[in-house]
């Protein structure tokens, strides 16, 4: 069991308001790790700190033992990290396959003038083949040439995942991948994510849909008010009183715990 990602005493405050306070946890390579917590608990802020969109006030993030806290987002991608966004951020003018190809940016090296020479774009051709494969994987193969903005909501989410996968990440950060999806779509998504995990990609995800999280995750970190309040396997989390209280209030927590022990 090797640790892939380490978050160590991470804090972030905006204008004196503490969004993340002294959060620490490890993500083990090859696992699916979930981060849950009520709305406003600081999950997206945490994701932005890990992926480099925000700079921490204090604390560190390390990937494979290397401190990446000060690296800009693109450098983290080059080290094997990819992410999706809660409020889908596709390149909406581009076609579906172009979005995926953009995700392959760091693997492509052909100089631009090769486009001038007919039949010389071998690398681009390979890239397109790989992109097509990824689209196949997420079930968008037939939409490759569609403008991405015209995709349905669930399709856009899947395209974002395909785009993130295109960089061949070791770890994939998913910010509420099931948000806005219907139950059927959510199920499909779970199947897809499992498949990815089987391919050896470590997943770190923030999600609200508990059934989804409980089914999928090997390990769960619970966040509330920017603090880690619990950590463990789904079964442990489910019966953790602090967690239930955070979600459903003390009374339901009491009742459920009673039922469980009865």
């Amino acid at each position: 069991m090797t640790t892939l990602l380490t978050v160590d005493s991470l804090s972030k405050s905006f204008r004196g308001v503490h969004a993340i306070r002294d959060a620490s946890f490890d993500v083990t390579a090859g696992k699916v790790h979930g981060i849950i917590g009520p709305n406003g608990a600081g999950k997206t802020t945490l994701f932005n700190l890990i992926s480099g969109l925000l700079e921490p006030t204090s604390g560190t993030v390390s990937l494979n033992g290397k401190d990446i806290s000060a690296l800009p987002p693109y450098a983290r991608t080059q080290l094997g990290m990819a992410r999706t966004f809660q409020n889908i951020r596709l390149f909406s003018e581009m076609t579906v396959i172009e979005n995926v190809l953009t995700g392959m940016h760091i693997q492509l090296h052909t100089p631009f003038w090769r486009t001038l020479v007919p039949f010389a774009g071998a690398e681009e051709k390979q890239a397109k083949a790989k992109a097509a494969e990824l689209l196949e994987l997420v079930g968008l193969a037939d939409k490759a040439l569609t403008r991405s903005a015209s995709l349905a909501y669930g399709e856009q989410r899947r395209l974002e995942i395909a785009r993130a996968l295109a960089s061949d990440p070791k770890i994939l950060l998913l910010d509420e991948p099931a948000a806005g999806m219907n139950p059927l779509e959510t199920q499909d998504l779970a199947v897809l994510l499992k498949k990815l995990n089987e391919r050896g990609i470590t997943l770190l995800l923030v999600e609200h849909d508990m059934r989804f999280v409980m089914d999928l995750c090997d390990q769960i970190t619970v966040l509330n008010f920017g603090k880690v309040i619990a950590e463990g396997e789904p079964a442990e989390i489910r019966s953790n009183s602090a967690v239930i209280e955070a979600y459903l209030g003390p009374k339901v927590a009491e009742r459920l715990l009673k039922e469980a022990s009865a």
Binding site: Y74, R83, R89, M94, T102, H105, R163
Partner: protein, 280 residues
């Protein structure tokens, strides 16, 4: 018939030069806007190229094939110098700080009289920029941009234009791309300036200010920036327009302004709203 052609060419020679040079300037603007930045410093880079070129020709008598690259090099160097701090800026701030560059350069041209001729400018610049050279360069630039646009680099640039944050997450080195685009655009504007100087025989310090910057921007805005051809088309229209509207005399500028207004309000993607096709 030949004489007629000759007269026609003579009449519109400056216009033909102008369209070519403005086409290059429009592409230099395109290059910056393609990564989602707004610069009003293209006129300043153009001026640097014009002064560099004119001085090397007039004072050192260097051959044109040396002068032209040199006039791309100097603006590129300045772009590199100002690039670092200004690229932290976005939108309006970058635009206005690049206006500042133009004004500072103007003061320098005016005050370094012994070299630049001050307000009198530099005259008697030999006409070395032939129509064929200008259009050959424009064509090369167009092909290059088209090639870049179709490549992974063009894809990265479009991604930055649409969503800088997401582009960074894709592994695109956003600051380096921005700096690169600014430098290339400065080179292109410098070449355009050098060609303009060597086709109009006279340059002065007041030609590369705010108004010129705005004109260059309006090429790209009118044309659109979906393909490299669009800004060039914008340059064509806006350069020919004053001549087409010549009979309207005073009202030309009014019409010119209204065209910009109408284009922005009703043609937000420019008159050529196509998008470069990349994936077939």
């Amino acid at each position: 018939m030949a004489e007629w052609l000759d007269d026609f060419f003579f009449t519109y020679e400056t216009l033909i030069h102008g369209i070519g040079v403005h086409g290059l300037l429009a592409l230099s603007m395109y290059c910056v806007m393609a990564v989602g930045q707004l610069s009003l410093g293209q006129a300043a880079f153009m001026g640097l190229g014009a002064y560099t070129g004119a001085l090397l020709t007039l004072k050192l008598g260097l051959p044109f094939y040396v002068v032209l690259p040199a006039s791309a090099f100097v603006p590129a160097l300045i772009a590199l110098l100002i690039g670092g701090p200004t690229l932290r800026l976005s939108g309006v701030y970058l635009a206005i700080s690049t206006v500042g560059l133009g004004e500072v350069l103007r003061v320098i041209y005016i005050n370094f009289e012994s070299l630049t001729g001050g307000a009198l400018g530099l005259s008697g610049i030999p006409m070395k920029a032939s129509v064929s050279l200008i259009y050959a360069l424009l064509l090369i630039a167009l092909i290059m941009f088209w090639a870049v646009g179709r490549s992974r680099i063009g894809r990265a640039m479009e991604a930055m234009r649409e969503d800088e944050v997401a582009a960074g997450v894709m592994g695109i080195n956003v600051p380096v791309y921005k700096l690169g685009a600014l430098i290339v655009s400065a080179m292109l504007a410098g070449i355009a300036g050098c060609l303009a100087a060597h086709s109009s025989s006279f340059i002065g310090p007041n030609e590369y200010g705010f108004e010129t910057a705005v004109t260059i921007l309006s090429f790209a805005l009118l044309g659109g920036i979906g393909t490299p051809l669009a800004p060039v088309l914008g340059a064509l229209v806006l350069t020919a327009l004053p001549e087409v509207l010549r009979p309207l005399a005073d009202f030309r500028l009014v019409i010119n302004g209204m065209i910009i207004v109408v284009a922005i309000l009703f043609l937000p993607r420019g008159v050529l709203p196509l998008r470069l096709r990349r994936s077939a």
